[in-house]
Symmetry: C2
Subunit: 318 residues, 2 copies
């Protein structure tokens, strides 16, 4: 089968063996994959990665222990957990210390004609949800995670800083819960979120200061983090959604004097994400910037790396 | 009257006019004051401070609009709030944007024979509580604030890092709620907290890693902050209780991957603090390192600045 390979900063396509299906696992044929910023970072060698990337996907089950899965269109949670530890017992397999992670940590990714995942990780995609929408389940789940960690009152205004892929999804997901204001630099991109009711504000010289009880930083930049810190009111919460490489300098004085809370936030559960997508509450079509065949993965990655590109999809057929 | 003055890094004692009592305020005769690390920082010129310091005190009301206060022994909340804004309405006068702060921000401090405070800031000290204990109400309230901000289940083990004045009080306050483990470098100091049941562990080469759901950093140092971060389990909470000067470098990757929450924490309400003190749950006597007359304030500050010194008290009589 065709599979994407990342090594030493290069993207290549190789012929690989179809992965062996272990007990309790499903063999899944890829229908569509999505390139995430994490994939671009893996390409650059962060986390010492080399291997097969891909964790945003929708596929079709080819074989499984439970034959009911066969032929089903599925998405799958990306953390492969032990199922036995304290974390797994608390429904937090995504923090299982023994976990591997699809296309990120020690489990071959979805950018191949076939992948495997534990059956317990799978969710069936409702018939009304297209592949092009279902492929967003993973990043939408990451956005939904915020609502699981920080239970802010519905109706409370929230600010999202950053109009990249994740920022646009976060703003849309939060808008389904509370009036959301997106701060970004690109009118066109922000229009995607505006379509579902998000208020868009261009980041200008005058930054809002101490204006919001809840601020989400989805910029992935040092400057974004500082700006987000300044936007939070006393006793407010700053949700940190995208990693900044290297260390970020934090002035602890305002953090303590204003009793700010900073919440790191990563992956989320797929169920609420798929529900939001099914309800048609998100404007996903304009988030797709380009679609490439799996065999064109090097081109697809190059396109995804162009500044300001939204979602680039990988199609095994095409 | 005699009053302490900080200016350009120097401590002096001056003859000053007794402060005028405004409407709604009480004039209070000092009985005992306590020197806090913040006072030492004000001396060094942080926050551009010059003037009369002192925010830890117990005193006796000399005059007040409400004559019931006269003759009462009191402690007083240090934030002088407007009483009208959203914050004040929520009982969070300590975040009132118009606030002044006793001995810190635009309100002359308690290191003088007399001070003034709004009557609404005062709490009567129960007869069974000595001056030497009552003077700890403010820092004990700061420790209690943690329990107001972070509602962790009683019985959940908590780690406190740092065996300075504040760390010792925090460990004792938390121990009244949950089994608390104090990490420090000084057996003798930690013994103060051990007396009320706190488990003391010397910080050695082997740092605990990902061991606690709740960690309080009371070190005030960069190294302490990093160590505290490493002690928190995934989805855990790090409470930041003492300011580190300059910026602290934070690696956002573990913060996000492990979904850590960082909570800045400052002043607290006096009522629960005074209650804890009255109940005799805290071991305060050995926390007093020295006692000086107000006129000896320069010596008292010098002593408080010696490394490892616990609480230094200022006595207007003596």
């Amino acid at each position: 089968m065709i599979a994407v390979q990342l090594q030493d900063g290069r993207v290549s396509v190789e012929n690989a063996r179809r992965p062996a299906r272990r007990k309790g696992y499903a063999l899944i044929g890829l229908r569509l994959g999505g390139i995430c910023n994490t994939d671009l970072e893996l390409k650059r060698g962060y986390y010492g990665f080399r291997g097969r990337p891909g964790h945003e996907f929708v596929g079709e089950v080819v074989s499984a222990d439970d034959r009911n899965w066969v032929g089903k269109r599925v998405v799958g949670e990306i953390n492969l957990a032990c199922g036995m530890c304290e974390w797994c017992g608390r429904g937090l397999g995504r923090h299982c210390p023994a976990r591997t992670v699809l296309g990120i940590v020690k489990h071959p990714g979805a950018f191949a004609e076939y992948l495997t995942l534990p059956e317990s990780n799978l969710l069936e995609v409702p018939g009304s949800v297209t592949d092009e929408h279902a492929v967003f389940t993973e990043p939408v789940a990451a956005a939904c995670e915020i609502l699981e960690q920080v239970r802010f009152p519905s109706g409370q205004p929230v600010a999202v800083l950053g109009d990249g892929k994740l920022g646009l999804l976060i703003a849309q997901v939060l808008q389904a819960h509370s009036p959301t204001i997106l701060y970004g630099r690109h009118r066109q991109k922000m229009a995607v979120a505006q379509a579902v009711g998000v208020e868009a504000r261009l980041v200008g010289k005058r930054r809002p200061r101490r204006e919001f009880d809840y601020v989400v930083d989805a910029t992935g930049s040092r400057e974004g983090f500082s700006a987000a810190m300044q936007m939070v009111r006393p006793r407010g919460t700053l949700i940190l959604k995208s990693t900044v490489h290297g260390t970020v300098g934090i002035d602890t004085a305002p953090l303590i004097v204003d009793e700010i809370t900073i919440v790191g936030s990563r992956c989320g559960r797929f169920k609420p994400a798929l529900k939001l997508i099914k309800q048609g509450k998100l404007n996903l079509d304009p988030m797709i910037a380009a679609r490439f065949r799996l065999a064109e993965a090097p081109k697809a990655f190059a396109r995804a790396e162009e500044r300001g590109t939204l979602k680039v999809l990988l199609d095994p057929g095409g």
